[in-house]
Symmetry: D2
Subunit: 371 residues, 4 copies
Amino acid sequence: MVGGGLGSQIGVAHRVAACMDGLFEFSAGAVDIDPAKGHADGIDLGLPKDRTYGTWREMLHAEMQRSDRLDLVTVATPNATHFEIVRAFLDSGFNVLCEKPFTLDVAEAEELVRLAREKESVCGVNFGFSGYPMVRQAKAMANAGELGRVRVVVMEFAHGFHARSDDADNPRIRWRYDPKQAGQSAVLADAGIHALHMGGYIIGQSVAEVSADFASCVQGRLLEDDAALQIRFSDGTIGRLWTSAIAVGQMHGLTIRIFGEKGGLRWRQEEPNQIIWSPLGESSRTLERGASGLHPIAAGGSRIPIGHPEGMLEAFANIYSDLHAAVAAARAGERTGATEDFPGFSAGLEMVRVVQAATASSKNRGQWTPV
Amino acid sequence: MVGGGLGSQIGVAHRVAACMDGLFEFSAGAVDIDPAKGHADGIDLGLPKDRTYGTWREMLHAEMQRSDRLDLVTVATPNATHFEIVRAFLDSGFNVLCEKPFTLDVAEAEELVRLAREKESVCGVNFGFSGYPMVRQAKAMANAGELGRVRVVVMEFAHGFHARSDDADNPRIRWRYDPKQAGQSAVLADAGIHALHMGGYIIGQSVAEVSADFASCVQGRLLEDDAALQIRFSDGTIGRLWTSAIAVGQMHGLTIRIFGEKGGLRWRQEEPNQIIWSPLGESSRTLERGASGLHPIAAGGSRIPIGHPEGMLEAFANIYSDLHAAVAAARAGERTGATEDFPGFSAGLEMVRVVQAATASSKNRGQWTPV
Amino acid sequence: MVGGGLGSQIGVAHRVAACMDGLFEFSAGAVDIDPAKGHADGIDLGLPKDRTYGTWREMLHAEMQRSDRLDLVTVATPNATHFEIVRAFLDSGFNVLCEKPFTLDVAEAEELVRLAREKESVCGVNFGFSGYPMVRQAKAMANAGELGRVRVVVMEFAHGFHARSDDADNPRIRWRYDPKQAGQSAVLADAGIHALHMGGYIIGQSVAEVSADFASCVQGRLLEDDAALQIRFSDGTIGRLWTSAIAVGQMHGLTIRIFGEKGGLRWRQEEPNQIIWSPLGESSRTLERGASGLHPIAAGGSRIPIGHPEGMLEAFANIYSDLHAAVAAARAGERTGATEDFPGFSAGLEMVRVVQAATASSKNRGQWTPV
Amino acid sequence: MVGGGLGSQIGVAHRVAACMDGLFEFSAGAVDIDPAKGHADGIDLGLPKDRTYGTWREMLHAEMQRSDRLDLVTVATPNATHFEIVRAFLDSGFNVLCEKPFTLDVAEAEELVRLAREKESVCGVNFGFSGYPMVRQAKAMANAGELGRVRVVVMEFAHGFHARSDDADNPRIRWRYDPKQAGQSAVLADAGIHALHMGGYIIGQSVAEVSADFASCVQGRLLEDDAALQIRFSDGTIGRLWTSAIAVGQMHGLTIRIFGEKGGLRWRQEEPNQIIWSPLGESSRTLERGASGLHPIAAGGSRIPIGHPEGMLEAFANIYSDLHAAVAAARAGERTGATEDFPGFSAGLEMVRVVQAATASSKNRGQWTPV
C-alpha cells in the first residue's frame, strides 16, 4: 500500500477490506509522505521491517526485485500524486488499485488506461460502493431486463460535513476547495462521482453528456460545495444527480433510484442490505441481502446470514475479492476484461471526463457538454 | 363550488377541508360540466335545490342576487377554464379560491392578479400542502433566522402513476400530456410546482431564474413526464427540483430539504407530522406536531394531540381557516395583504411564470431563463 | 354531545369526525360539567341557543320532546360518569356512542349491553383507531384466510407523556393514577385497551384469558403506568401486549403485528396509510391505502387518493359513517348486529372485563385469569 | 477454532471478526466433527497442515506442546458439546471464547465459571451484539447516569425463519425444537438471550426474577418457538422481552428500548449505527456512530467515518479486540476482571440460569421464578 498510514481514514478501510476474506495479506507499504512516520506507522501496522518503506520509489525498487513481490499495490495517496505513482508501478508490471478520483485530468487518466492495457495488468479504481451485494443485485436485475428499458436514474451523495462558515479557514478542509491542490472540482470529484459511477454501473451505460450547475455556498471557496448534474447516458437514459458537502444533517447521502418501464428500484447506503423494488402496478417489496432468489452475484458477495447487517467494509472486501480473482486469472494466463465486476481504470477515466465536462458546463451556464 | 362533483378527487378534499372547522358550509355549487349531472350531484352532496346550479354562469347570476351570497367560491374545474370563471366571479365581487395551476399562461394570471387587487377580494390558489402545520413551522423557523442564511433548497414531488407504456393511449391520462388540453407543461405544472411553491413559501423568497431539463419518457407524449429544474431564488438561494410521473414506487413524493448556515431541515409528506431538524454541529432531532415549543403558527394549525397523525385534509382545512379569517377581516374593513398565511393569486402567478420560463429553458437546452 | 367542550381534546375530534362526511351535524350538546361554561362553549361551537344545554339531564328531557331529536348522542365525559349518562339516554331510546373506557366495572357494562339489546339501539364504544382503512384491510385479510391460522398477535401502545417524576403532583395527570377517580387501572384502561381491542378486532377473536404484570414506575402512583399482558384469545391465538405512559420518546406507540401460518402483517399508527405484508417465504411488501386490489372495506373508507396521508380524524369519521349507516338501517326497520364494522357495546364490555381480569392477575403475581 | 468449518454460518463470522484488526490470526483448528472434512476444510481455510486437526482432543494435545500455542481458542461447536470442550481447554490453561448458549444446564456453567476463575484464564461467551459501538454508547450513557434511574427495558429478538408448518419435518430445523439435542429451550436460548443479555449489559444489572410464557406455534414442536418474559433486574428495573422464530417478515428483530427517569433510548440492529435518544421533555435526537461527543468506548470501537455503515462483523471484531487486550494484560501479569467490556463466562452462566428459570416459570403457568 502506498499512503493510508495511521490517521488516514481510507487506509484502515483498505487494510480491513483487503484482508477480510483471507485472500490478501498486508505485506509491504510506504504509508506516509514523511519517511520517518511511514516507517513507524508501517511497523505499528504489523509490516515486516524490511518491507516498510520510506517512499513509494524505494518500495517500487525493492519490491521489483523480490520473488514474492506484491500481487496488488493499493494507491491511497493525495489525488494529485495518483498519476505518477500508478504509472510507475504499472510500468514495472504491478497490478494496481487506485483511490478515486483517478487523476486530476483526462490526459493523465487516458495514459494510465493505455498503459494498463499494454501491460495487461489488473487495474481498479476504488468506486468501492459498487461492492455492496444489493447494488450488484440491482445491476443484475437491470441487466436481466427485469426493469425494462431504464428511463430515469436519480442519484445523490450529499453530506453536511463542510458546512461551517469558518471551514474556509480550516486547513483540513480548505485544501479540498483549492484548485491548486484539489483540481477543478471539489464535491463532485470527491463524493458525487461515487453516486454517478454507481448509477452507470447498475444500468450498464456510460455518461454521454452533462449539464451542470455548481455552487460555492461557503464564502471564500473557489470550488463547488454543492452541484447538480443533468445527464444523458449512452443509451438515452436520463440521469439526475445532486451532490453536496453543505447539506447539514445528511449522513448517509448515497442513494440511487432507478425507474424503468417495468418498475422502480431504490437503494440507500443507510440501509445497504435492502433494495426496495416496485414492480409496475404492484406493491413495493423489500429485497433482503441473504434472501433466496437473488441473483448469484448478490448471493455470492454475502458473508453473514439474512437479517444481520453488513456494511461498507464488506462492500470494499468484495472489490478486493474480485481483484483477487482477476489477479489469479491473469496469472493463470486467462484474459480478463469487460466481464469483470469491479470498476477498472476505464471507469476511473470516465469519471475524470465527467468532472471535466461538468466543470466546463457549469462555467458555460449549464450548456450541455459531451463527456 | 364550481366543479368538483361526484367522481372528482379534489372536490371531496375541498368540501371536507372547508367544513372541517365549522367555519364554512357547502352552500351552493355548479359541480359538473354537464348540467344534469351537476344538478344530481349537488343534490346528492346535500345542496339545497335552489342553490344547485347547472352552470357556473347560472350560479354567478343567482348568487349575486342573494343577500346570503357565498363568502367564498372554490373553483375546481379543468385548468383551461380557471381564467374565465375566476375572472367572472371576481368581477362580481366574490372571494375566490382557485385550484392550481392557476391559469394556462402568464397574461391571464396577471390579469387575475390585477383584478383581485382592484376588487380587494380575498383570493387564494390551492397550494394546499402549505397548510401542513410542520411546513409552517419550517417557514417560521426560517423567518426567525433559526436556519441562518439559506443556501440550498432541495425539492421533489415524484410519483409513478403515469408510468405505463400504454398510458399514452389511456384517455384519462392522455389529456394531461396533450398541449391543447394541458397547456405547455404536464408534470411540472401538475405536481412539481407544489414542491417549488412550498420551497419558496418556507424560505420567503420568489423564483428569479431557472434552468430546466424536461423529458418525455413514455413514447408518444408531447409534454414532459419527468423534469429537473435548477433555480436561483430572489435572494440568491439555490434550488434543486425533481418532479416525475414515471417514478414507479414513489408514493409520497413531496419532500423539502432546506440547508442553511445554521442547520438543515427536512419535511416529507409521507411523515407530515414531523420535521427533522439538524442544527449545525449537533445531532439531528425530530420536531413533532403538537409538541411544546413550536412557533405559534404551527401550534395553531393542529387539531389533535401529539402522537396521533393529521393528514392532507387537515392541511387543506388550515388554508380554508386562513381564508375565513381573511374574509372576516375584509368584511370588517381591515386591509389584508402581505402577511397572509395562505398562498394568494400572486403565488399562482409566480408559478405560472416558472412553468413558462422552465418550458422555454428546456427548449433552449437548459439556458438560464428569468422568471 | 355530552362533554367535549372547549379545552377537551377528544371533543374536537368527535365534532370533526362526525361532520366530516356530511352525514351528521353537531346539533345539540351539554358540553361541560359547569352549566355556564357549557352554555357558552356550546354557543361558541355553533350550537343553536335552544339546544345548548347546561346539564345532560336537561338535554335528555328537552331532546326527548323534539321531533327532530338527536340521531346519535356522543358521550365524552369523564369515565366515571359514562354509566349513568349512557343508561339514561338508552332508556329514552337514543342511539349512543360512548368514549372508552366504557364503564368502570363489569356489572355496569353488562347492564348497558343488556339495555342496548332490549332497546335495539345503535350503540358504539369509541375504539376509534379501528376506523383506519388499513386496519380494516388487515381485518379483511385475516377474515379471508390470507394469513392462515393466526398464531401470535403482538400489540403495543406506549407513550412517554406521564414520565416526569413530579407528575405525581401534577393535578392534570395525578387523577389518572388515583383509583378513586380512574378506577382500577390507569394506562391499560386508558391506552392499552385500544391496542388490545384492535388485535381482537383484526383477528375476529375475543380475549379468553390473561396474565398481567403491572408496574408503577413513578413514585407515589397507586395505579400502573407500565403493563405487560400475555393473552390467549378465544380460538387459541397468543397475544402479547405492552403498554406504557413512561416510555419517553415514544410518540406513535400504537402498533399491531399479526403472525399467521401464511404470513406476517404490521400496522403502525405512525404510518397509518400502509400495511407491511410479508407472505411466508416471499419478500415483504407495502400495501398502500388507496391502491387497487384492497378489500372493499378498506377501499370504501378512503377519502383522498393514494400517496397523500389520511390521519386519525379520518379514521374516527369512518366510525361515524358506520354508525350513520346503522342508524339509517335501524330506522328503516332492518336488523343490524354482528356484522357491523364499528365497535359496539359488547366490545366495550369485553375490554372492561379484560381490565378487571388483568388487574386481578397482576395482584396475583401474574396468575392466568379468565376474562 | 473448534467447529465452524465450511458451511457453518458462525464460523465465517468468527474468522473475519478475529482477524479484522490484525490482532489475531487464524492459526489452528479442528473445524468439523468429521475428521476428514475438518482436515480438508482447515486446509481450504488456509491453516497450515500441521495445525489442521481431525478432532478437538488431537488439537488440544498438539497445541499444548507448542511454544507458539494458541492465544485464544474459539469454540463454535453444537451447544451440547460446549461444556466438555471448554473444560478441557481451560484445564490445560487456554483462553477460551465460547459460542452461546454457554452450556445446556446451570451445573455445567457453574463449573466452567469456577474453573475459569481458578485458572485465571481470559474467558468470553459470544454475546457478540454487545460489541456494536452504539450499544456501548448506550451502556456508557446509562452508566454515567444520563438516563437517570432506569425504569423499564423493552427487548425483542424476533424472526420468522422457522415459521413453515412443515418445518417440523425439516431436519435442519427440527433438531432445534428437540429437547434431546437442544436442551430445555429453543428460541429463548437461541435468540432471546441475546436481547436479554444486551438489556442487562447496557443497564449494568443482572436478572433477578422472571415470569415466562412459552408457546409452540408450529404443530409437532416440543420446545417453544415464541416466548414472552417479564423480568425484574437486580436493582428493580422492569424488563419485557419478546422473542420469536415464527414472526414472518421480521428480519432485524434485535431491538432494545430503555426508559429512564431522564429519557428514553432506542437501538435496533437494523440501524446499528444510530441511537435514538429522547431526553425527557425535549425532542428526540439521532446519535450517530462516529460523531463527536460520544463516550470513549463508542468512539474507540469505530473503524470507518460517520455516515458509512458498519455491521455485525465489526461488532464481533470489537469483542475480539477486547479479548486481545485482556490476553495481553493477563500475559503482562495484570489482573483483569469486572471492568472488562466483553461478556465473560459469568454472563454465559447468568443466561443459562435465565433459560432454566423461564422454562420452569412457563411450566408453572407464569409463576415468578428467581434466577
